[in-house]
């Protein structure tokens, strides 16, 4: 397989594996904990390395996952003490664990291949060079197998615990009352996040893994209000970020991991602006429509108010309306068109408006609201 295809495969699998637990991180409002975990797993990796002296040993994954869970437990213990808020607790715990790991690497691991730069940004470009060989047969890049395994693990766990995760995320109190311990589920889920962070660590480093976990689900949540769709869309967006990121990096000759994370961010920005219902543009259009609708109601009420009075002759003139209601000519035209379209008013001649029976009724109901 050509080099660039293998890199893209690794990128796609990493992105998809990260997006899966990311959905529940976002829904549980603990997105930042992924940042904490992805940093503190380094301590587990370093400590396990000193023990087994082999960077590919499975003990590293086990130790790293354990530090991930330890991080969550420490954050919660600090938070529960009541002396520190949760965000501060996160910010206190993971830099402490991470810095210990950095010191240990600098002091004792000078020769080995574990430098701070690759810890932060990963080395996805080098992934094709670390092969997995069994009995002399080349099975492909090691990280492809590892992340593939983690992807299957995440998908399997989320499939099996779908209703339990959904319930404990939406309503932890009911989950507990029904006998599904939210604490057990929380830690099981955090173990998944930790394993994912360790695996992705190798490829994209500890900072960018956060972008891949959080940005696609956060974008997907803007695009759908169905959980299953949100999971599917998160995967699609993550894979799209991985592929566009790879090609952007190829063309611009920059870091692949950085480019993938940037594309995940671009994806979010697009969703933020253009999402059909919850995007900024949709919001502005909705507000503009509501303004015109409200103004049309105001117009109907105004006409009703002056119906049959001595000043009706003046108050129903279109040019007077503009002055009275302080509308710009353009806005007034849109409001009148809207009211006419709704069947609330009729034009009389060129410059006068009259309420229809429907408009009279609407104005009456509108006023009592």
């Amino acid at each position: 397989m050509p080099l660039h295809v293998e890199i893209q495969l690794v990128a796609v699998v990493v992105a998809a594996a990260c997006a899966l637990p990311g959905v529940f991180l976002v829904l549980r409002r603990v997105a930042l904990i992924s940042d904490a975990i992805s940093h503190s797993v380094l301590l587990g990796i370093v400590l396990a390395f000193f023990w087994v002296r082999d960077l590919t040993h499975p003990a590293l994954v086990v130790a790293a996952t354990a530090t991930g869970i330890l991080t969550v437990a420490m954050v919660e213990a600090l938070h529960r003490s009541g002396r520190v808020k949760e965000d501060a607790a996160i910010a206190l715990v993971f830099p402490a664990l991470f810095s210990i790991a950095v010191l240990l690497i600098a002091r004792y691991a000078g020769q080995i291949h574990l430098d701070v730069h690759s810890v932060l940004l990963g080395e996805i470009a080098l992934s094709p060079f670390r092969r997995w060989e069994v009995g002399g047969i080349d099975l492909g890049p090691r990280s492809l197998w590892m992340m593939g395994g983690i992807l299957v693990l995440n998908a399997g766990a989320i499939f099996l615990l779908w209703k339990e995760l959904k319930l404990s995320t939406f309503d932890p109190a009911l989950a507990a009352a029904l006998g599904f311990s939210p604490v057990v589920l929380h830690y099981a889920f955090m173990a998944l996040v930790s394993v994912t962070a360790v695996g992705a660590f190798d490829a994209v480093g500890s900072i960018l893994v956060v972008a891949l976990m959080i940005a696609p689900p956060a974008s997907a949540w803007l695009l759908t209000d169905r959980l299953t769709l949100m999971v599917g869309l998160s995967m699609v967006l993550a894979v799209a970020a991985a592929l566009t990121g790879f090609w952007a990096a190829w063309i611009l000759d920059v870091s692949i991991a950085g480019s993938m994370a940037a594309m995940a961010g671009v994806g979010f920005l697009l969703a933020f602006i253009l999402a059909p219902d919850r995007g900024v543009v949709a919001g502005l259009r909705r507000r503009a429509r509501q303004r015109v609708e409200f103004a049309a109601m105001l117009l109907a009420v105004h006409l009703l108010h002056h119906e049959g009075t001595s000043d009706e002759w003046v108050e129903t003139r279109i040019d007077h309306l503009q002055k009275h209601l302080r509308w710009s000519p353009d806005f007034a035209r849109r409001v009148i068109n809207r009211a006419e379209f709704a069947g609330w008013v009729r034009r009389e001649g060129r410059e006068r408006l009259r309420l229809t029976p429907l408009g009279r009724e609407t104005a009456r109901v509108g006023m009592t609201r």
Partner: protein, 292 residues
């Protein structure tokens, strides 16, 4: 359950009870209290939130828990359901510990306790009520969906089944929560402020459902805020202010004296002139335990 069956102690199980789920064991002996709480104390950092509460609530009753803010009403329910740790005390539901009767207990938390932006539909939220019967890993199927359909019909929310939950009004959210409790087909129902922020029509239809549950022999315990409606809606009342002030049938316990004790002298509503005189046996500042 009919009165005959209750008096003859005939156990009901399976389809004859009109229930979808096969709840653990037989119908409980009607003489067993639905809820027994002895010496329950809950503390938050050595500060008692609930102090030495004793309670007996019979089956087939509709009980309001009332008391001022910070009286520990929600905590009482949460402690009974094991959602907050108890510093001391013993809780029995239908004569057993919670773990043995979990499936016979339904819980409706406060509406504000969940995030209504969660990406899911009305139907799906109600379906969550069936999870307890399903247990770990099993998925809801046809039978569960049918139960959800019936529950939604009961609370007049059928038309909203596929609606995204963020589009609901407060009253509709509360109906969804009630439907979710109904599909649990429990025998003892705990509701935390079921009338909070709902319109008059919703309030009436919730009351109707609660009365129906009571009339078929279920036990309903609800945290309630509006004192005016206590005599209309409920049979029994628990007056709470960290300590238990009084508990028993509304007619004998819901008195000015007891209310004054619970609310520290100020009663936040005009008492009806027909309110019964305080029972002579219970001086206003002591804890009275009136059993039904």
């Amino acid at each position: 359950m009919s009165d005959e069956m209750r008096s003859s102690g005939v156990a009901q199980t399976g389809p004859s009870s009109g229930r979808t789920w096969n709840v653990d064991g037989d119908a409980p002996d009607p003489a067993v209290p639905a809820l027994e709480v002895d010496d329950l104390t809950v503390a938050y950092r050595e500060q008692p939130v609930l102090w030495d509460v004793d309670l007996r609530i019979p089956q087939g009753s509709l009980t309001a828990i009332v008391g001022p803010n910070g009286a520990g009403k929600t905590t009482l329910i949460r402690a009974i359901l094991g959602l907050v740790p108890r510093a001391a005390g013993r809780v029995r539901i239908l004569g057993s510990v919670l773990e043995e009767v979990r499936r016979q207990v339904a819980y409706v938390p406060q509406r504000g306790s969940v995030d209504w932006d969660f990406p899911t539909s009305v139907e799906d939220v109600v379906l969550m009520g069936t999870y307890g019967h399903l247990g770990w890993f099993r998925r809801p199927g046809q039978r569960e969906r049918e139960a959800v359909g019936r529950a939604l019909e009961r609370v007049e929310m059928t038309a909203f089944a596929r609606r995204q939950i963020s589009e609901l009004s407060g009253g509709q959210q509360q109906r969804v929560f009630l439907a979710r409790a109904l599909v649990q087909e429990a025998r003892v129902h705990f509701l935390d402020e079921p009338f909070q922020g709902v319109d008059a029509r919703t309030e009436q239809s919730i009351v109707e459902v609660l009365h129906e549950l009571r009339d078929r022999g279920d036990t309903v315990v609800a945290v309630h805020h509006s004192l005016q409606t206590v005599p209309d809606y409920f049979d029994r009342v628990v007056l709470l202010n960290v300590r238990l002030i009084a508990a028993g049938p509304v007619t004998s316990v819901f008195t000015d004296d007891n209310l004054r004790t619970a609310y520290g002298g100020r009663i936040p509503y005009l008492s009806p002139t027909s309110s019964p005189p305080p029972p002579p046996s219970s001086p206003p500042d002591s804890r009275s335990r009136v059993e039904g």
